[in-house]
Amino acid sequence: MPDQPTRGKLRIYLGYAAGVGKTYQMLHDAQELKHSGHDVVIGYFEPHGRVDTIAKTRNLETIPRRRVEYRSARFEEMDTPAILARKPQICVVDEFPHTNVPGSERAKRWQDVQVLLDEGIDVLTTMNIQHLESLNDQVARISGIQVRETIPDWVVQEADQVVMVDLTPRALLNRLIRGVVYGPEKARTAMDHFFKESTLVALRELALRQTAHEVEIRQLDVEDLPPPMSPGANNLQTVVTGRTERILVYVNADPSSAIVIRRAKRMADYLQADCFAVAVHRSADTNDLPETERDAIERYLNFARHLHVEARLLEGDNAANSLVDFARRNGVTQIFLAHPKDRGLWTILRRNIAQQVVQLARDMQVTIVAEREVALGS
């Protein structure tokens, strides 16, 4: 076996909307890198008919796309094996959050990029702020659109560089009007939806703040950071990580679980806290639950894992008791729960889980995460 190559470096060009010039900037830098003697290829490029951007690919070698047929329609995807065979020093990969056609070896393009990085290839890629998983609910609230193609935050955190590609919303709207970004029909629809100026201003602010945060976390000296911890046993109290905060997320079958997981994970990342997620059921076997509920719990626990949050099912007859008990034994400082929905007679007779947890966990901080409902924009 040959030695494992040093992992490639990832640089992300972050924008806040289509047309701000991410791909242009990326190709501009790729040209400069080639000029200074690096072996640069284009792994995937989406021209969108933009003349200036297409001109920036001149003299750069392009790895042809892989043709895929799915349900008798033709698709073109990045040809990861061909890039690996070509083994360039640096590979340009447009549209990082892209979802591959079903039946592809990997579901997401960012996973293909992981493979390139593992093989020691440096990658330049592009994405917009609205594709960052932990901001999904906030973006929905700002834009009225729930973005489906998301990238887990840890993928972005692992990048060596995040660069902000900035353009003012007014300039972007002018580009749209002049037909630089889309054709006239699509441009008009876009301006009625995602491309409202207020939405763009807000997304831009999010992107600037996120980039500043990415710059800041990369300043922390590696030796200052405690190692990440994992809840191996049920009792973690004695593990000293040096991290002051430990966040526990309560997950159930309700869709608000996803919102709580995103928010808690974002909070944990900013506070450099550990983060776990638990669901509670009376037995380890959930077969007695209706199928939809069982699937939902499983889905949200997996969603947490997908975001690199340790997740597990706890056994217990009373969810609030089990949750608080687990929290206490594991030195949790904050519990995150969804906003309670039930209201009415039932809550008077039997307090909802949020109320119960607040009562039981009087020695901890309990955060009730608001639903970030789609109230604006649409």
Binding site: Q138, T168, R170, S198, V358, I368, E371
Partner: protein
């Protein structure tokens, strides 16, 4: 049910229409960089080139003495104002530009003090004059020349700058663009030609970069707020974390406020400590409350004293006005067995705090 609030988009449109009506003033656009070599000047002249290609009348007011080749190449195709050098300092020939009256004037490097005897004492005041005459100005600036940032930037650059531009002038710009490049690229591009490989230099550049990005974010936030405020609308976007700590005499204020401070710092957000006025406070309670305010001041929180019969409603109204994203309360808000029967204050707060996270602290 209240009438549907206008969406921010609708408000923006109204505000802009108003602005456009009264506006004969030129528009100011600023390219902001965190160090020399990030490519601000290029972005600026390149915009000038594109505008000229689209038929706008573009004139170069002044260029930096040692412009890189790529900038020179673009400048070659643009009309330049005659260079006026006074005491070795390049000065915009304001009278010439005003007489020429182009649609757009490029001003490379905003932070210059003009020599004594000039029309204006600083270049940014020259720019104000051009804007007043209805000329659009596109300019560039490095964050080290922003007066209010000097104190933080100087230790990083090791340079004390003489000429600065007030932050308020940049906040008044119509558009501000941050020119962001990876530090290593800016190191190789630096006009001093000096190749800085050492880690400390990279670290310093990274800190400057962060300052520039946050400054731009604040300008953007300010612009959005201005639009919304002008129309009396509460900010609901939550693009910036704003933490509201509710204190009472009996609250565990230190824990809440310190936690709020840490949280606000990590998110570069804002921290506000609020108290809803209660009548007939005992001497002890008043002293405890004062101590809590002292903790708030220690943690540089903004302090707000609110008045209202219904404490929860008062807090929430304030929170919505200020675009709060997280409310911190103590268990002490849970007042008595009577409240328990009616549902406690905390329960009411949680139920009514739509769109705002509520964190309950141990007593």
């Amino acid at each position: 049910m209240t009438a549907r609030r206008k969406t921010p988009e609708e408000l923006l449109r109204v505000a802009q229409a108003e602005e456009d009506k009264q506006q004969t003033r030129g528009k100011l656009k600023v390219f902001l960089g965190y160090a020399s070599g990030v490519g601000k000047s290029f972005r600026m002249v390149d915009e000038g080139r594109r505008r000229k290609e689209r038929g706008e009348d573009v004139v170069v007011g002044t260029v930096q003495p040692a412009a890189p080749d790529e900038v020179q190449a673009v400048l070659a195709n643009l009309e330049k104002a005659p260079t006026k050098v006074m005491e070795g300092v390049p000065v915009i020939d304001v009278a010439w530009v005003l007489a020429r009256k182009p649609a757009v004037c490029l001003v490379d490097g905003l932070a210059y003090d003009n020599p004594p005897g000039s029309r204006n004492s600083t270049r940014w005041q020259d720019v104000v004059e051009l804007l007043k005459a209805g000329i659009d100005v596109i300019t560039s600036i490095n964050i080290q020349y922003i007066a209010e940032l000097c104190q933080r930037v100087e230790p990083l650059t090791g340079k004390r700058v003489q000429s600065t531009v007030p932050q308020s002038f940049l906040f008044s710009a119509d558009e501000i663009v941050v020119v962001d490049v990876p530090p290593e690229m800016c190191m190789t591009r630096s006009p001093d030609g000096q190749q800085v490989e050492d880690e400390h230099a990279a670290r310093r550049l990274s800190e400057l970069r962060e300052i520039a990005l946050l400054f731009a974010a604040d300008v953007v936030d300010h612009q959005l707020e201005q639009y919304l405020e002008r129309n009396g609308l509460a900010q609901t976007f939550g693009t910036q974390e704003r933490i509201l700590v509710c204190v009472t005499p009996r609250a565990n204020a230190r824990m809440m406020i310190e936690s709020g401070r840490r949280n606000a710092n990590r998110f570069h957000g804002e921290l506000i400590v609020a108290y809803v006025k209660q009548h007939r406070l005992s001497g002890d309670d008043q002293a405890a409350l004062d101590a809590n305010f002292a903790i708030a001041r220690e943690n540089t929180a903004e302090i707000e004293i609110l008045e209202g019969e219904d404490p929860i409603g008062t807090i929430l109204r304030f929170a919505r006005e200020r675009g709060i994203t997280q409310i911190f309360v103590g268990h002490s808000l849970q007042l008595s067995w009577w409240n328990r029967l009616k549902g406690s204050h905390v329960d009411h707060l949680i139920h009514q705090a739509q769109g705002i996270d509520v964190r309950i602290f141990p007593h």
